[in-house]
């Protein structure tokens, strides 16, 4: 542009306008899930803006979770993945008895996905204070720390880190084995005298840390659900704490409960 007019300049490009344009087009269905958006360079030309401005608009949509960019291929409207739902009944004995797969596996299969669980580490550790507090332990009391990674169709969906007092698990499969046997982890706890009767679920949501974004391959604009689960027996003794971090675009929680018990 020439510099003849020093008055209030008209912005030829405005990344908000471009972003809103794309949002509207997606909402209208001009671009369906999976469709490719115009290239950054094409958008810039169309809106008479610099490529960087178009780029900023796309960054906006990415952070909103509307689209994903693939290096060398293009920008695509995000497909809405089916959700896996988890609730209190995944801890029920009926679930344990009838289901070989465990709660994650059965949810995955119900969604037509191939489940897979990885147990990269089992170790005896001194736990962080928030774990000790939830377990009602002194801060220097050792626990077992079991890390679980849950995959659906090869994609990591959630991480669960389980802690239980060493005094309880010592000498059992809980202390050193990935395989919990047919009853699963809660079947094993029950055989040790800790039948899961109550649970406490503390639920928060936040953006993933750097490490989580990499490990869970969380795309831009997708938060994680940060869930602290405590298993409590009939005598109101907590015996197990698990911290789940789940991709919020694949996961929902679904609880039904009585108001007063």
């Amino acid at each position: 542009m020439t510099t003849t007019q020093p008055g209030p300049e008209f912005h030829r490009g405005d990344f908000r306008a471009i972003a809103q344009d794309l949002r509207d087009a997606i909402a209208r269905g001009d671009y369906q899930p999976g469709d490719k958006l115009p290239s950054e360079r094409a958008l810039a030309t169309k809106h008479q803006a610099a490529r960087n401005t178009a780029r900023e608009a796309i960054a906006q949509l990415r952070h909103e979770g509307l689209v994903t960019a693939e290096h060398g291929r293009g920008v695509f409207v995000r497909e809405k993945p089916r959700w896996m739902r988890f609730g209190r009944h995944r801890y029920s004995s009926a679930m344990r008895a009838t289901n070989e797969l465990g709660p994650f596996g059965s949810e995955a299969v119900a969604q037509g996905k191939r489940p897979h669980v990885d147990v990269p580490s089992i170790a005896r550790v001194t736990p962080p204070p928030d774990v000790s507090d939830r377990l009602g332990l002194e801060h220097n009391t050792d626990v077992v720390r079991r890390e679980n990674w849950y995959f659906a169709d090869g994609d990591p969906i959630q991480i669960g880190v389980t802690y239980a007092p060493w005094a309880i698990v010592e000498g059992t499969a809980l202390a050193d084995s990935a395989d919990m046997g047919p009853g699963g982890i809660y079947g094993l706890f029950e055989s040790l005298g800790y039948a899961i009767t109550y649970i406490r679920e503390e639920i928060a949501a936040r953006m993933p840390t750097n490490a989580e974004a990499e490990g869970l391959q969380v795309p831009d604009g997708v938060p994680v659900i940060d869930l602290w689960h405590t298993g409590i027996d009939a005598n109101h003794r907590p015996f197990e704490v698990t911290n789940f971090v789940m991709r919020a675009d694949h996961t929902a929680l679904d609880y039904d409960m009585p108001i007063e018990d």
Copy 2:
């Protein structure tokens, strides 16, 4: 730089490096919550990068929810707000009997904040299908739609949109009044023959929409918790559905429940 060396160029600036530098500094405590980070221009100089590169690094931290930028003032490490926790007992009759403020108000007061609830609209509408389904109604059956905005210290924290069958609420305060009387909304429902006995809570997390980000004044990098709550009476009839959208940086959910009832 000169073009004499066509080999692999050394990037003087790299927004990831700058971002990690700042993350580390914040983690170390070099910058405390509320502290001001160096200006974009200062960061650029320090890292021998262009201002845009430093700017990109800061954008990264903003999206992670670590810092907030204030136009004309600077970039500040985000203060961790105290969390308001909500669980199933907020629906208990004991809560109703002893507490004039309601569950939101009492949580706010417990956190040292001044609560305030706004009811901008009460109307008779034909509900969206997901509401009808949750209420077990035909899709053309009218309901009352009550919109509630919850504030703490003047800041909007959550929005709740409640739906209930028009056939139930017609002629009562539920149909047209913001004031529910001493027993609150569930007291009123109980007097109409619908005592809340079970609840169902469907919990998801996502980034806020444009409108929500404005209405709730959600800063960058903060997701929202999207909660569908259904109130169910002793005969297992759903009589009320509320969709809460809450700032995830101020809100956590805390449920304890028996595994089997």
